[in-house]
Each structure stands twice: as C-alpha cells, then as structure tokens.
C-alpha cells in the first residue's frame, strides 16, 4: 500500500467499471418490483406480488430446498475431503504432490459442460443415473477445488513449527491439527466454503446433465422458466438470491475477516 490518492480520472473510471458490472444486478432487482407481467425497465408501478408468487409456488420452493440441500451437502463433503487432501499435499506426505494438486484443481479450468458430459458418461457406465447421490458427487467434484485452493493458501501462510510445538507439548498429530492449525486456517476455510457453496448453488452446466426430475435445482428452474418466457417472478427469485448472498458475505466477513484469503 502506498498513501498516494488515486487521481480524479482513475476514480471516475473505477466508478464507471463498478456501475457497469452492477448494471445487470440493478436491472434485475428493479424489474422484480414491476406490476407488468413482462420484464421492463424502468419498472411500472411498485408491487411485491412476484415475490409472493415465488414464495408460494411449490416448484420454486422445492427447487430452493433442493439447491440448499445440495450446496450444504456438497460443501460439507468437500470441506472434509479438501482440507484433509490439502494438508497431506502441503506437508508433502505423498509422492507427486504437485501433480495431485493440479489434478484436484483441474475442474476450475475445464469447461463445466465438459465435466457435465464426462460425469454423465461415467455414471451411466457404472450404472448410477439420475439420483441425488450422483448429483451430490458431481457437486463435490466441482466444489472441492475452491476448498483446496483456499486451504493451501492458508496453510502456506502459517508457521508450521506451531504444530510441531503442539506435538512436543503432548498433542498427537490430530489434536495438534485441531487445536492449532485448524483455528489458524479457519478464515481461509470459511472463504473456501462460501465459494464452494455459491458454486454449487449457481451451477447449471453440470447439474443439467445429471439432475433427474425430482432434483431440479433453483438455477435449473430459472433456466427452464426463462426458456418458456420471462415474467418478473424470475427477477424476484434472482433478487432473493442476491439479497441472501450479500447477507452471507457480510456476516462471514464480520466473523472471520476472510477477504484476506479470497
């Protein structure tokens, strides 16, 4: 950091970029309050009926429930697997750690559609299709890189001798990890968990190949309803998602100051 203030043109450009990036969000939020039965900007009139429509529609409620169960389940599993894997990789407990790390991170760079098709073929091959478990496994694959990434970053930021100190003071390996290493990497893990959760929540390309009729998630439902014609209830559900995300980020930041690990 230096204490030079940005010049006026820089500030202006920065503000314009921020506004430009936020335009879709603003449009969606505004449109969700419109009384018309089609999306329009500026909104005509002011109503909450689209929110009511969403929150009483069993299809939407079911999709929200599916998405939450999936995101929480996938994040929990990814957390356990990802943290354990990162720890082993970081301590170089396995030969070929670098190669394994790249492998675990590969879902970040492989196009999601490719992963979706690949998983579909794989699950068909092994005789699993269209169930919740399949979807959950697929979401673990796409969310685990976020956990691994933030766990590795956090681990490299701490002095490993603290864990050795704990072991010399009578803690076995797991206790030392639980009482010393884990609290120290917690902010990073919270950041990773949020990324993982959001990634699972918003995923369409992988989910669409694998979700059976009873596993429709919120983004899939939005996606299909947009195909059938847009009404402001889509904007309303999107607005709800935006509000939920902002709240989660706000409180997570307050509790852990995780932004340093993003």
């Amino acid at each position: 950091m230096n204490d030079q203030r940005p010049t006026l043109p820089v500030t202006t450009i920065a503000l314009l970029v921020v506004v430009f990036l936020q335009i879709p969000v603003i449009v969606v939020v505004l449109a969700s309050f419109s009384e018309t039965s089609y999306l329009t900007i500026p909104p005509q009139g002011l109503t909450l009926k689209w929110f009511e429509a969403v929150l009483t529609d069993s299809a939407y409620l079911g999709a929200i429930r599916n998405s939450l169960v999936l995101a929480i389940g996938a994040t929990t599993i990814s957390m356990v697997l990802g943290v354990a894997a990162s720890y082993a990789l970081f301590r170089k407990m396995l030969p070929g750690s670098e190669a394994l790390t790249s492998l675990l991170m590969s879902p970040l760079i492989i196009p999601s559609v490719v992963i979706g098709v690949a998983l579909l073929q794989y699950f068909t091959l092994v005789g699993l299709r269209g169930g919740f478990v399949v979807l959950l496994l697929a979401h673990v694959v796409i969310t685990v890189p976020y956990i691994v990434r933030s766990a590795l970053a956090s681990l490299s930021g701490i002095d490993l001798s603290v864990e050795e100190a704990a072991r010399c003071l009578g803690a076995d390996g797991f206790t030392a990890f639980r009482l010393v290493t884990l609290p120290l990497i917690k902010p990073g893990l919270v950041a990773g968990a949020l990324f993982s959760f959001v990634t699972s929540m918003e995923n369409v390309p992988v989910t669409i190949f694998l979700a059976g009729p009873r596993q429709t998630t919120l983004p899939i439902l939005i996606f299909t309803s947009v195909e059938m014609g847009v009404d402001p209830s889509v904007a309303a559900v999107s607005t709800l998602l935006i509000i939920a995300t902002v709240l989660v980020l706000f409180f997570a930041e307050r509790w852990t100051g995780f932004h340093r690990f993003v």
């Binding site: 002095d159 001798s161 603290v162 050795e164 100190a165 704990a166 072991r167 010399c168 003071l169 009578g170 803690a171 076995d172 390996g173 206790t175 009482l179 010393v180 609290p183 120290l184």
Partner: protein, 355 residues
C-alpha cells in the same frame, strides 16, 4: 529429569548423510550445547531427539526409555524454537497451559502451574495478552514458560536467542542459565555462537559436517582443542604451518617453539595455533617460555584492547592482543618487539587434509 543418550545416531537424506554416527551421553541435569557452523547438523540432531524427524539409524534414550520410535507427544520433552512458535490465536496463559491441558490438568491446579511458570520467566500478569502484543524478548520468555510448565524430562533449545538484539541476548542468557539451574532439567542447547555455548554449558559438543569433533567442558574446548577444526572455530587464534623437528615445532628454518602438545614423529607437518591473548609483549625473564623476535607491522586500537600484527621469522605474521592501558599499549609500526608465548599456549595439531 533424566539423562539423554544418543547411540550411533545417523540421519541420511537420500544420498547425503547429514548426521554421521553421533554418540552422545548427557547426564541428568546437565546443560550441553551443540556448537558448530551452519549446516553441520545441529538442528537435525535436536529434532531427532524431539521426535520430529526419524533417525536413519541408531537409538535415542531418555532416562532408561528407548524413545527412538516414539512420536514427540510421548517423549515428555520441552522444545523452544528459534521462531518461538507461540500459538498466535491463544493468550499467553493458554499458550503456557497447552502442555498441562494435554496432561489432563485443569482448574485451579492448572492456573497455579501456569502462574508459576510465568513468574519464573518474570512475566506474571501477562496471561491475558496475545503473543502479538509482546516484544520479541517477552515472546521468547513465553516460549520458555510454555516449554517448562509441563515439567519435561529434557529441554531442547534451537538457537533460542538468535533473534534478539545483543543486549537482550546477554540478559536472556543469564536468565536461561538461572532457570535451568533452578529446575535442574537436562538441557540440549543448539547454537552457533561460541561465547554463548562456552558461558552457558556444563559441556560443549563441537560438530563439523555431522561429526562430533570434541565433547568436553568449556575450558577444555578452549584450552585443549582436540582437532585443528575446534582450535580454529573457537576464538580467532593465529594459525601457522609448522613441522615437527627434534621435539620442537619449527615454523621455519630458524624459528623453533617449545610446546606441551604431542610432538612425536619427526618431520610430520602440523598446524600451530596460538591465541592472540596468550602472546605477551612484556619481557618476563622466565627462561621456560618461547621467545619470538618480530617487528610491529600494524596497530589497531579498539578501546580496552590494542591489536598488533607482528611480522616474525622469514614471512609469517602473528596477531597479538594487548591491554591498551599497559606499557605495550602504544607500540608504533616498524618497532622491533620480543614476543613471549608459554609452551602450554602453543597448540600443535595434525594438519587436516581439507582445511
């Protein structure tokens, strides 16, 4: 409290052997320093004793227990790191309590033990602070309190004072010695600071390239170094090439010195070590001392001491240290001088193949 024994301990990393067949027996309550240049394997030995790395061979015993294959938490040791390695998310109190809690202590008994340990390092009342709110010296003392609180059988230190400034380091040395005396805990102390090793230790173990060169009391290490390496590593002695000739050591055709070292083997090439402070510029009249005629080539003043570079023999030089307030305090370059060295201060050691 127990003795600590290393028996033919070896550590190999793939093809390199960094600790080569080290055997060391430390008595109960003894303070031993491992001293040697960077990379000679001191930390490696310490970490093997702690159980943080596995030896490739040999056995390590604490008391009469073979701990070679035990994990660190089963060894009952206290380790103080160079980096302190305090737990940043815990208060000073909880840092010190960590080892006690692992032993199942809690409540008032635990608080009393923590208070006792903090008082010992003069940090009573600092319990509620976090490590980041302490100075380097205070953090170091918390690290010590944390290590001693569970009453370990063996205390291990890895250059614990090297991050402190010179003045604080002197204070902490005394503190540390006092603490170790009071507790009577067997201590292995790694350092590359010879003054620190000599002043703190009951015995010093000088190492080079993973091999013990000498393991003896500080006085012996200083006065009777066993090898040319030890002689040159401790202090900054004059180091001259010589040859054994008729029960004396010859520096050149004319100049022969008497010595109390082993002078057997006529014609054997040797190295001669003479400490700067062992050379006298004042004539004593004592017939048993070596007399060396020379000429002052250079004078350098450093407060209480003056150093002279004196040219002797055909083309050799000796650095001589003298008190600046004495009669030999202001000799000018070019002046002829007569140097006196007692035979016991002329150390003759076999010439090493690789210097």
């Amino acid at each position: 409290m127990s003795n600590l024994t290393l028996d033919h301990v070896v550590k190999r990393y793939s093809s390199v052997t960094v600790v080569k067949d080290v055997s060391l027996a430390i008595d109960e309550g003894e303070f031993v320093s491992l001293l040697g240049p960077s990379g000679c394997g001191k930390t490696t030995i310490l970490r093997m004793v702690a159980g943080l790395i596995d030896p490739s061979g040999g056995t390590i015993r604490i008391g009469d227990r073979d701990v070679t294959r035990l994990p660190p938490n089963k060894r009952n040791i206290g380790l103080v790191f160079q980096s302190y390695a305090l737990f940043p998310h815990l208060t000073v109190h909880e840092n010190v309590a960590f080892g006690l809690r692992r032993k199942g202590q809690s409540g008032a008994a635990l608080d009393a033990r923590v208070g006792e340990a903090l008082a010992m390092v003069r940090l009573a009342g600092y319990g509620e602070r976090y490590p980041r709110q302490l100075s380097g010296g205070q953090q170091q003392r918390v690290a010590m309190a944390r290590a001693i609180a569970p009453r370990p059988n063996v205390l291990l230190f890895d250059e614990p004072l090297s991050n402190l400034d010179a003045k604080l380091r002197d204070e902490m040395q005394i503190e540390l010695k006092r603490l170790q005396r009071e507790l009577g805990i067997t201590t292995l102390f790694v350092t590359h600071d010879q003054a620190e090793a000599l002043s703190l230790s009951d015995r010093v173990c000088v190492m080079q390239d993973g091999v013990i060169q000498q393991f003896a009391e500080p006085e012996t290490i200083y006065r009777r170094p066993a090898t040319a390496f030890v002689a040159s590593f401790i202090g900054k002695p004059n180091r001259l090439a010589g040859t054994i000739r008729g029960g004396r050591v010859a520096l050149d055709e004319q100049l022969e010195l008497r010595s109390e070292s082993d002078l057997s083997g006529d014609g054997r090439p040797v190295e001669v070590f003479i400490r700067q402070e062992a050379i006298s510029l004042a004539a004593s009249g004592d017939e048993s001392v070596n007399r060396i005629a020379g000429t002052v080539a250079l004078r350098s003043f450093s407060g209480p001491q003056v150093k002279y570079v004196v040219r002797i023999g055909s083309d050799q030089e000796l650095v001589v240290e003298a008190p600046s307030s004495g009669p030999a305090g202001d000799l000018a370059p070019g002046q002829p001088v007569m140097l006196e060295v007692h035979p016991q201060d002329v150390l003759v050691l076999s010439r090493e193949t690789a210097p």
